[in-house]
Structures are given as C-alpha cells and as structure tokens.
Amino acid sequence: MGSKIPRTARLAVIVTMTAALGLAAACGGGAATEPAKNQASGDPASPVTVKFWSWVPNIQKAVDAFNASHPGIKVDLETITAGPDGGYAKMLAGVKAGNAPDVAQVGYDSLPSFLVNGALEDITQYAGDKASTFVDWQWQTGVFGGKVYAIPQASGPMGLYYRKDLFDKWGIEAPKTWDDFAAAAATIRKKDKDAYISTFAANQAPWLISLAQQAGQGWFSTENDAWKVTIDNPDTRRVAEYWQKMLDGKLVKTEADMSNAWYRDLQTGSIVGWIGGSWGDAIIRGNAPKTSGKWAVAPIPQWPGADKFTSASWAGGSSSAVLKGTKHAAEATTFAVWLNSAPESVNILLSAGYGWPSIKDTSQIANLQKDDTVFPFYGGQNIWDVFKEADAAVDSDWRWPPVSDALYASITDNAKAAVQGEGTLVDAFAKTQQAMVEQLKAKGLNVTTGG
C-alpha cells in the first residue's frame, strides 16, 4: 500500500501544526489577557465554524440557541448514529483520517478509550477554570492526569421505578434495602403468578455495572504506571451472589430489558419495577402510557450496614469531547461549556430526555422544579428529588477502563451464559476480570489485579 506512508506523514504534519497552533494560542492567551479571555468568542464578521457530531434527539434546538447568541462562532450539527452502534468507530476513523469534527458526543465510559486511541484534545487552558460549575464526579470523568479533555453533559443516576398501585394493593412498602427488595420480590410472586418485581437484564452491561458500582468497590483504577483491575472484588461478589439467589429462587424474570417483551410486560403489569436511570421515565411513559398515575420512584435499595447512602449512574453519562486535530479548540470549548451549562441549553437537553444535568446549580432549570408532563404520570411525585439525591451520591472515584466496549461485550456474554445455567454470576464477573486483563495487556498497557 503505497498510500500509507504519505498519509501518515501528512497526518503527522497536521498534528504538529495543530499542536503548534494550540501552543501559540496558549501563549497569546496566557500572556496578553486574563484567563476569562480564554473563552473564545470569535469575530462576528467572519465566524469560525465548529463541527459538532451528536445523536441526541432535538439537540439542534440547543445548537440554534448557541448560534443565535454567539455571532462569532457557527456550530454545524451533524446527527450521527449512536456511539456504540458505529458512531464512535466513525469518530475514531475521522481522527485517523484527519477529518473528524471539532466537538463530539462521547459517553463517560468511552472517554478513556478515546484517550488511549489518541483522539482527544487537551483543553485544560480553555476549560480549566470551569470545574466548579459542574458536579464533581461528572467533571472528573473528563479529566485524565490532571488535564481536561471533555465537558460533562448529563448522567443517569439510578432509582427504583415501581407500580405504586400494585405495591399498595399487595401491602408492600417501597424496598429500602436489598433484603427488602428480595422480600418484596418473593411476596409479589406469591400474590400474582404472572408478576415479577423486575427482570434480571443480563443483556444490559451498564445496568449490571451500576449495580456493582453502587455496592462499593470500583472495578478499575490506576496505580503508579498501571491499570489495576478489581472486578472480582468482595463487594461485586456480594452483588453477584445476591442476584444468583434471586435467579435460583425464580424471583426475577430473565428477559432482556428495553426489548419488545419487556415493554409489553410493563404495560400488562407482568413486570412491576425497574432499577433504571433518570432518563428512564420517558421510556416508561412512552411505552406504557395507559399506566399513567400508577408509578412512583424510590431511591435505589441500599446494602445493609452501609454507612452512607450510595447510588450509581447508568454507563456514567455523556460528555461533549473536543477531538484531536481540531483547529478551533478554543471555540469548540466555548461551545461545549455553553451547551452543557447555560440554563437555556440544559433545559432543552433535559426535555429531550437526555438525562440528569451535569451542572451543580440546577435552580435555573425550570423543568426540574415542576414538570407537567412527567409528574402526573408518577401520581404527582416530584421524581427529580429522588434523582438529585442519587446523582449526589455517585462515587467520584469510579473509573472507566480504556476498553469499556470490550467490558460491555464480555460482561453481557458471561452474564447471559450464567443465566442460561453455565456457571454462576460470581464466575461471570471473575471471567470478565480475566478477559479485561487480557484486553489491556493486548493493547500494551501495564496491568495489575486486585480484589
């Protein structure tokens, strides 16, 4: 392939050039003006064009609002396929080929693999002073080695959605602990032979991971110059044993969540609960509209003996990352910060169902105070109070690995096998740890394990 060499060479030139430009901009910005000036606003006469890739429904409205209020920068939105369905592959290929967008939608769980693929731009100098605007754990997902690479957008703090009418009818309280949850599950099986408290969604890696995240010890961390893998740890084993018992006792269904079957079961009351992310309200409302007014949301059940309330976030959440090779890192950052923190934009994203905002101060977000499409469905409950508390209780030490796609594939494959009766869930997590160690090693990274 003769084309290979010139292409790499050209890429190298582009990379060096952008690096040099970035450096010049940094020097100029730092020397001549105060930090606030780092927020590039561009020249209205000849606006800088920033290309933005996202798959969030209706995000165009937020982009339009930005363009209207920032005459010096013109953001071009291109709606792409969701990251895990090929969007990420496209972004990485774009970076490789030198025609990636300036800003892209990247999940918290995928930022490390983007970093390891050399696809993120260091925007510390433009965004470093924004940390205090955002919820700490969400901000930290875009920070590696003290450098900022992405601006957090939204998370999916977990709560327990349940059919309050049926729980009341059967005389069950919303479970506060996992023991309560198991007891409630058993009662439901006795009261109605067709009903289950929930499904065990072996297909849903982010769900399985959240359960483990909530239980305590993390799965990945960095120690010296190595990734430490601790999936097979006592807290996760406790989660595995718990759900294995639920499976053995046939206290939960085993169908896939967010599947045809599951939607149907939500409608018919065959499944009366779901431990899901904050954005899940739209899924229940949209797929089971006839159950309006019958649902409620409770905090995620707690492990007995926990010293403080803990929660987790479904697949972390999603960020606006600035991609390597951009010629407008400053403008790109200005846009990313505005998109995810300006009350006008956050309101739009929230009503598009994109999850819990990443900003600390949500007092300006009208829909969080009162939402006439959401609250009536939950019998008038302000469900956002539950998720606000949950988002504040997410562990800020949780780290995603640079191989989260492999993690997702591996954990669902192993959990599916366990549900089919090949080994137990405890084995499934142990096998996943083994697979992750091999994955990281294959990439040439340093790996240690613990547990």
Partner: protein, 281 residues
C-alpha cells in the same frame, strides 16, 4: 370449456397456498404495525390494530426533520438505481468479453473476480473510508454511489450467461455482415443477455439498497442518508424517546412497500426476458 379439477391440482394449490401464507404473513404484520402507536405495538395482537392511526404515523413520518424521510427514499433510489445501472453495464461488458474473446490473463482475472464475491463486505467499509478520505470524498454522495457500481457477481453471471446463450456462429455471421464489435455487443449480445442483465440489476439494486455499513461510515450529513441508515438511526433513538418506534416501523413498512412495487414492476421485464420463446400452458 370447463376443466376438471384433479386431485393433483388440489395438492399443488394447497402447497402453494401454504407457502404464500408463510411468505406473506410477516409482510401483513408489518403493514398492520405501521398503523399502531408505540404502546399498541407492544401491547396488542400483532395482526390487528384496535386504534389504527396510519394517518398520524404517516404525517409524522414525512413531517419529521423537514421531510427527511422523503429525502432518504429519494437518496436510496438514486444510490441503488444509478449504482445498479452502472454495475450492470460494466458487468455486461466485462462478462461478455471474458466469455467471447480469449485474451492473456483472462482466467486469472476471472478468478480474482470470483474471489471478490467471497470477501465479507461489512469489514471493507472502514478501509474504504480511510482510502476515500485520502481523496477527500468522504461525506459526499459519491462516497456511497461509487462502491455500488462494482458487482463481481454480475461479471460472473454475465460471463456464464454469455457463454451459454450467445452462439458463436451468430457473432461470426454478424461480423461477416460487417458489424463492428461494439455494434454486435450493444445490438445483439446485450439483447440476448437481457435476462441475466435484469438479474444483475436486481441483485445489485437490492444489495445497494440494503447496504448499511458503507453509508454509516461514509456519511455524516443526514440529508444524504439512504433509508436503511436513516431508519436504523431512528431506531437507535427509541432508547430515549419511544415515539421513534412509530417512525421506525412505519418507515420500514413504507420503504419495503416501495421497494416491492419497484421489484414487481421490474419483474415484468424479467419475466418477459425469461419466457420469450417458450409458451407454457
């Protein structure tokens, strides 16, 4: 004259009828589903729509995003139609020449073409993207159209058909009559090969229409999407907004229906080509 119905006829018709039910049932299902709301889609019997809202669904389908769906349909027809037409012509030329003119390296080339049929196209999408971005045509109409004009299967089929169906004597006599090679090809060979050419066109048309990964990696402007990619993208948004189920299913029904109508109209061609010269009772 009234024909007597014989037991054999009953058996044949019963078998054909059962097969028709098997092939048509899912199509009926999707047409029914297109009239449902997302909730009814999961909550009601598959072959009956209690509260049909076809009008609402169609309105939303063609209204969303300034008529994006309409554009996708047009794009698909352009990608598949132009691509298949060009592929058919190129394959016809190559296949005919390989059947009728011996030349050095002919068999090696033919084997290369055959090997091309065996390569899984899914994985070719990314390398093609990297090569195209060298030339700077990623994200354009051309990036999806151009790969669609290659049909190794078409060359294979054209060669087999030309070898079997075009008598050498016919070519010889045409030459003796003073016809040039190009006139022979366009005036005689193409006509004889027409059933094969319709097959190639059909095959390639469907192949391009169904291609998902190539446009997925090539395109980022929604207005250039073919309908499969657009529907897949809507489908991936059902995760956050269940109303997209209605759009996806209704869109699938409409696009399948359009494609079937296209096929049915082409089928007349292809039957004409086939049955020419043989009268059946």
């Amino acid at each position: 004259m009234v024909r007597r119905i014989r037991p054999a006829t009953v058996v044949v018709m019963a078998l054909l009828g059962a097969a028709a039910v098997y092939f048509l049932l899912p199509v009926v299902w999707v047409l029914v589903a297109a009239t449902k709301s997302s909730a009814d889609l999961f909550g009601t019997f598959g072959l009956w729509s209690p509260e049909p809202q076809l009008g609402t669904n169609l309105g939303r389908l063609f209204g969303t995003g300034d008529g994006l769906f309409g554009r996708w349909i047009v794009n698909s027809f352009l990608y598949a139609g132009i691509g298949a037409l060009a592929a058919t012509l190129l394959s016809a030329g190559a296949g005919y020449a390989m059947a009728k003119y011996p030349f050095r390296g002919r068999e090696a080339l033919f084997n290369l073409v055959l090997a091309g049929v065996l390569v899984p196209s899914t994985v070719l999408a990314l390398p093609t993207y990297l090569i195209f971005s060298e030339v700077g045509i990623t994200g354009t109409f051309w990036s999806v159209l151009l790969p669609g004009i290659v049909s190794p299967f078409g060359v294979y089929l054209a060669r087999i058909h030309a070898t079997a169906a075009i008598p050498d004597a016919l070519l010889e006599s045409a030459r003796l009559d003073g016809a040039g090679e190009y006139r022979i090809f366009f005036g005689i060979a193409m006509k004889i090969m027409s059933p094969a050419l319709v097959t190639i066109f059909l095959f390639q048309f469907i192949g391009v229409w169904n291609n998902y990964f190539l446009p997925l990696v090539m395109l980022s402007d929604q207005r250039l999407y073919p309908v499969t990619l657009g529907l897949a993208q809507w489908n991936s948004q059902t995760f956050r907004d269940p109303a997209f189920y209605e759009l996806t299913v209704t869109g699938a029904a409409v696009s399948a229906l359009l494609l079937v109508l296209t096929m049915a109209s082409l089928q007349r061609f292809w039957r004409a080509g086939l049955t020419a010269g043989s009268v059946k009772g």
